[in-house]
Symmetry: C2
Amino acid sequence: MRVAVDAMGSDNAPDVEIEGAVQASLSSDTEVILVGDETVLNEKLAAYPKRGNMRIVHASEAITMHDKPVDAIRTKKDASLLVAMRLVKNGEADAVVSAGNTGAVMVGARTVLGPIRGVSRSAICQAIPTAKGFVVLVDLGANVDCTTRHLCEFAEMGVAYSHYALGIENPRVGLLNIGEEDAKGGSLTKTVHQHLRAAAHVNFIGNIEPKAVFAGDADVVVCDGFIGNIILKTSEAVAGLMAKLLREKFESSSASKLGAMLARKALLDLKNQIDPNEYHGAPLLGINGTVIIIHGSSKPRGVENAIYGARINFERKLNEHIRENIEELRGVEERFGTQSPAEPASEAE
Amino acid sequence: MRVAVDAMGSDNAPDVEIEGAVQASLSSDTEVILVGDETVLNEKLAAYPKRGNMRIVHASEAITMHDKPVDAIRTKKDASLLVAMRLVKNGEADAVVSAGNTGAVMVGARTVLGPIRGVSRSAICQAIPTAKGFVVLVDLGANVDCTTRHLCEFAEMGVAYSHYALGIENPRVGLLNIGEEDAKGGSLTKTVHQHLRAAAHVNFIGNIEPKAVFAGDADVVVCDGFIGNIILKTSEAVAGLMAKLLREKFESSSASKLGAMLARKALLDLKNQIDPNEYHGAPLLGINGTVIIIHGSSKPRGVENAIYGARINFERKLNEHIRENIEELRGVEERFGTQSPAEPASEAE
């Protein structure tokens, strides 16, 4: 198993990527390929004499967070991200991990690796901690304007990820909505509800509200990328705000130092429990290749865990299962008399 | 000032409504009119010998949470909610407070009181606590499928509420989005951005992400009702989940009893700080009359505070200012060559 790490993508590149890659190489037999400026990488890697199976592949350019994805993919042909993806395309690597510009990862993946047959939109998903277990939320921001077909694809891909990567037996699929009743929501949600209801092969539990999502009542929750992104960021913002307010309460109260210390400890434990660096990153689903996206502010531990995540998805043949699941959609669409439009990818700006 | 309280709306009606109304009547000179089954109300009110300016108006029916709004408004002509609204319509009351079926409140308000001239969609807003001060989020669920015009109206109405009810000098208006750059978001968001940018009378600060919303970087945040509802419920769900996880951490740790007690105290303080019962409820903006919606699970304190909220909105002539602000939109629309469609109200199911 060989994972190509875009070493120039994160806010603290390439140090974070290098340290994470070294850790992953030491704790598994995965070959880690660092892609980026070889002079810089060689020099920095020398600081880690103890490392596993690693090599460097040179790339002369890097895409920044400020680059416009489509322009960057067109003009920076030798960007580390694209070089890493071409390694997969050419059979020299099995997966890509990037903490870079998310839009560029999406456009790059679509351009270099292409979509899985039958998938009209790739989607970002992530396993998010709930009161009991994890929920796979899909899409998290790849697609802002969605059709019924897109959301049904998200469901199929999310189910494949939940089952094959996370080991959930018969994943319960919920459609994010502002009420549980079948007829709730806007026009898109109502149609998607009917389609998922008609998809006998999907364990569809109906509409689901945020409260039930965070209670862990579903294994996969489907929504358009605008809403998914807003949910993810709202949950992060509220968790951060609550932690801040609680710290202030402890510090302003006449509590003993012991009480404040214990509180800090509990908050820190909780912070680690919901820290994305502790999980396997966000796979870009629907791409002919294994691609894992992590946050630009990721720590080495986040890079390391994303490499493990890439390995799991690759070894468990996630993409083959996505292809099978997407095939199942055809029956549903025939029933509703709709076509399966191979819409052009217009997901990222 | 006379406030009609729909006494049969909440999950624990009419006890909660009665106790809240009694409290409000005792601490202000507002006349509180309890609307509902007079036999039940008279009997229960007898338990409060000490009360202020109050009276009962009989209504023989009640709309439940399970009723379909449009059907209920059509068939339950003598429902407490509709009787309360007719009191306002006929000049016998100045405002309505209801903890009942939100859809029915919206349809009922639209049917009995009608919209403010120029407003095509009424919207629900609420002042939500942030790291510094409050943000008015609008719409919170009245409208799931929105147009540019609707979102611009939400901005105008939110500004009026922020300024006149909350006393914010020149409210900063943000457009909820998945990125701060001007060109971010879906097709609707992009057009709304252009219109708000062109509205010289609006202090538009551009796109805003959830993190900045909860940091308190805007006074008014505009979004469609589906997303607003999801944000509100996600924030409640995440706050609840964090509190639960923290309690578990304290209880499972080897912390001293003192530490756990202090933590419980801090969590309780925080819970009160973000408890909607401590605030003035959610005004239904754009209606020819003052209408305040509160949660079905509200406590007496929530009813009491909503009565104060109704008084503030009425006395500060919020609706006149909304009418003025909506007038300003005409110039923006002329500039973009769009019309001001008086779309039919189809907001609730």
